[in-house]
Amino acid sequence: MLQIFSRIVSSAAIALTLAGPAAAETFKLPAYESYALSNGLKVYLMPQKEVPLLHVTVGIQSGSANDGAQYGLASFTGEALDLGTKNYSKDKLEDLFDFHGAYFGAGIDQDFTTVQLSLAAKDAAKLLPVFSEIVIAPTFPDKEVVKLRERTVSELKKAKESPNQVADQFFNRLVFEKHPYGSPLEGTPLSIGKLNRNDLQKFHTRAYRPQYAAISVVGDFDATAMKKLLADTFGSWSPGQANAAPTPAAAVQAKAPTGRVLLVDKSDAHETTFRIGGLGVRRDSQDWIGLQVVNTILGGRFTSLLNEELRVKTGLTYGARSRFEGLKNSGTFAISSFTATENTEKALEIAFKTYKGFVKSGVDAATLDSAKAYVKGQFPPRYETAAALSGLLVEMWVYGLSDAIINNFEAEVNGLTVDRANELIKKHFPTEKLDVLLIGQASKIQDIAKKYGSVIKTDIVSAQEGRL
């Protein structure tokens, strides 16, 4: 609010997810060890001594794709974990974490949930037992669930005032249709409004099981002491009635692309916020690193083709990008930007022309070399904090990725030839009848929308509810 970042809108939703490192001296994943507790909980320990901090991430193999018709169930369960446990009331938990400068939080993705604690190293023995109780034995007190529910509903309703906060969710819905990957990650005002304590307990009993979970601890700790502490705090976590394995989302069938335009009316908008794209690749694709390099050229940096055409040359927007998002059994590709309502036609025209030109012409050696240098140089800072490394270890566990995604990154980037890069473009960038999302003043842009496919016109409330 007080500070204007002038060059790049850095939004988590459109951030690059580079999967790999390197620089002048090759960047390697710091040493870590992994083992399992007798209840099946996978443990990752990575010492980092620079600052006296710890970051702990528990990964749970159930995410929004496991919500079924109860959109937001996994997300809301994660949010509700710290409403109370057997030994601690909500107030006690909040006081304790705040007093020690610790942050507790839950995160949600399509394939998994994370529960995280960031704390000072010296407080590990005091706070980890409390943290484990929150993960293993939350009580979901009814009174507190009701309060959190009304607050969550209010915040979800508020989110639709900011197109950037809801655009990716709407786009996912358009691409995945009724597949679980299209479910609204954090639920909808109506779906959250229906969840009760019983739903949360059922979901927790089913999903929060050590044999379907992992914990990563990164930071300043003594390995022997930490192993003992983890055994003491997470060792008693019961596997429960085995046979309750979470079902991962089914692979998404490539559908006959229909080229649809979802036009979401926001009558007070003075901009059009848009996404263009379709299905992409799985996170564990062998082509992932190559695609990151190639996408850098199209929309992954300031001098990318999209930003060059839509911002630098024409001043139509503050920023334009593209990205791949990889999931367990599918993925998406999306171009994203926004422009003043009156520039909608021109901006869309340029975005399509730039994208089609890129797919048709491919890349040249000089541009590819520049992109390679860029991704290698920008990689190490992505994994500088305990939080980032802790999250990375859990993601590697979720998607079944090996250390090679980090340690072979540089070699793989260096080995990418122009021919191979152009093959990747032909192979993975969707080109037939792309899906388009437009959020803006429908009355002013509906005729433009028609040019890009069959229009599904809706209002922002219906779109937020996942009704197309």
Partner: protein, 445 residues
């Protein structure tokens, strides 16, 4: 993880702590260049990367009506052409050598940031030196960049529900001082400034003596010093940077602002007070107050408004780093269907209570602890280290103050908190802003 984030609890700015195990004052090497620029170097080999932060002491407080937003627009033009790097090449050259960059503008400073593979240092210094010495304002670029900044302004208004209310409340609170206008400027000014305005700005404010540079990371100080001596130290300008003359007169009574937003889902309320600049001795007590009021779920206002009364979904506060007396603001994001007058009444009753009854030692200790751990969080990266050193050098009167911060927080007593509240958190010194579908019946008492 796409949907993970810490809740942002107010304070943008946390530090303190016995930082001896982490980064020490003696790790920082200081260079005073002959052209007046001060440079701080910090060697850190944790990753094969380095960064360069250049803090220019110019921001929207240096503007006047007619050129509001020019500091920020000028920042955009610093990327758009200089003698040896024609428009577009600054970014192309930097990215091809493995670097990326950004910049930000506040009311007080304009800060340029480069992040790069350590081996690219000569290229980065060359790029930076060329634009500091020989910026070229290109007419065509000025026009396209005008569009970019208009888009930036509009997308902020489109996506940040606080932007309009905050701008209006700040404009009401400051009647004389340039903190009254938004950093990004007014639309009419963005559309109107000229090349002559930009060139004058460059001559006036981009004098190396008006800058502090911080370089951290996998560096060899001897090599960096030589590069700086060859490329940066030789750039000299003799123009004197003009002082900002205007001082905000004391506020004589409450100010109230209402913004009608038909499409709003829930009311939003903000309350702000004039408080002193960052260098003032009361800074530490005020900074701890941001934690006591809104720092986490157990803080006073979150507990009261969110948890007990269920009238708000979140509460936060903000104390900007500033050269001149600034604006301490509290933001209440209301629950749908609740009454903004009640939010205001409850918030003010808590403030009144705190003016009478000192906070407990435990509550104050909690705020201090939070500051310490947050400081470590900022020191985890070479990026955070550069920004911290620069912030302290520029706003607190010297980077060494960073290493005294823990002690400065520790010295604050419950009585100090009470005194500060009775000095600044007064009705006559406050501005109240409300945004809702329609104005409450008796909004102006």
């Amino acid at each position: 993880m796409k949907a993970w984030q810490y809740a942002v609890w107010g304070a943008l700015f946390g530090f303190a702590g016995s930082a001896q195990a982490v980064m020490q004052s003696s790790d920082v090497e200081v260079l005073q260049l002959k052209n007046g620029m001060k440079v701080l170097l910090l060697e850190d080999h944790s990753i094969p990367n380095a960064n360069m932060y250049t803090f220019w002491k110019v921001g929207s407080r240096n503007e006047v009506p007619g050129i509001t937003g020019l500091s920020h627009f000028f920042e955009h033009m610093m990327f758009n052409g200089s003698k040896n790097y024609p428009p577009g090449s600054f970014d192309k050259v930097m990215e091809a050598s493995g670097g990326s960059n950004n910049a930000y503008t506040t009311a007080d400073v304009t800060v340029y940031t480069n992040w790069f593979t350590a081996t690219a240092m000569p290229t980065i210094v060359d790029l930076e030196a060329d634009r500091i010495a020989h910026l070229k304002i290109d007419d065509a670029k000025t026009e396209s960049e005008r569009g970019v900044v208009l888009s930036e302004r509009s997308t902020g208004l489109e996506n940040d529900p606080w932007e309009r209310l905050y701008e209006a409340s700040k404009a009401a609170a400051f009647e004389a001082h340039p903190y009254t206008w938004p950093v990004i400027g007014f639309e009419s000014d963005i559309k109107a400034w000229t090349r002559a305005d930009l060139e004058r700005y460059f001559r006036t404010y981009y004098n190396p003596s008006n800058a502090v540079m911080v370089i951290s990371g996998d560096i060899k100080p001897a090599d960096v010093k030589k590069l700086l001596a060859d490329k940066i130290e030789v750039i000299a300008r003799d123009e004197k940077v003009p002082e900002v003359r205007t001082k905000e007169p004391p506020q004589q009574g409450e100010k109230r602002v209402f913004i009608a937003k038909e499409a709003t889902t829930a009311p939003q309320v903000m309350v702000g007070y004039h408080v002193p600049e960052t260098k003032h001795p009361d800074f530490y007590a005020l900074d701890l107050l941001t934690e006591i009021l809104t720092g986490g779920p157990s803080s006073r206002l979150v507990k009261l408004l969110v948890d007990d009364k269920r009238i708000a979904s979140s509460v936060s506060s903000d104390l900007p780093q500033a050269f001149d007396p600034t604006f301490f603001a509290i933001f209440v994001s209301g629950m749908e269907g609740k009454d903004p007058r009640e939010m205001e009444r409850l918030l003010l009753s808590e403030i009144d209570l705190m003016r009478k009854k000192p906070v407990s030692a435990q509550e104050l200790q909690k705020a201090k602890n939070k500051k310490v751990v947050d400081l470590y969080r900022r020191m985890e990266t070479i990026n955070g280290k550069s920004q911290l050193l620069g912030d302290f050098e520029v706003f607190h009167g010297g980077y060494q103050k960073l290493f005294d911060a823990a002690g400065s927080y520790e010295k604050v007593t419950p009585a100090d908190i009470t005194r500060v509240m009775n000095t600044y958190f007064l009705k006559s010194n406050r501005t109240v802003g409300v945004q809702d579908k329609q104005e409450p019946a008796d909004f102006r008492y």
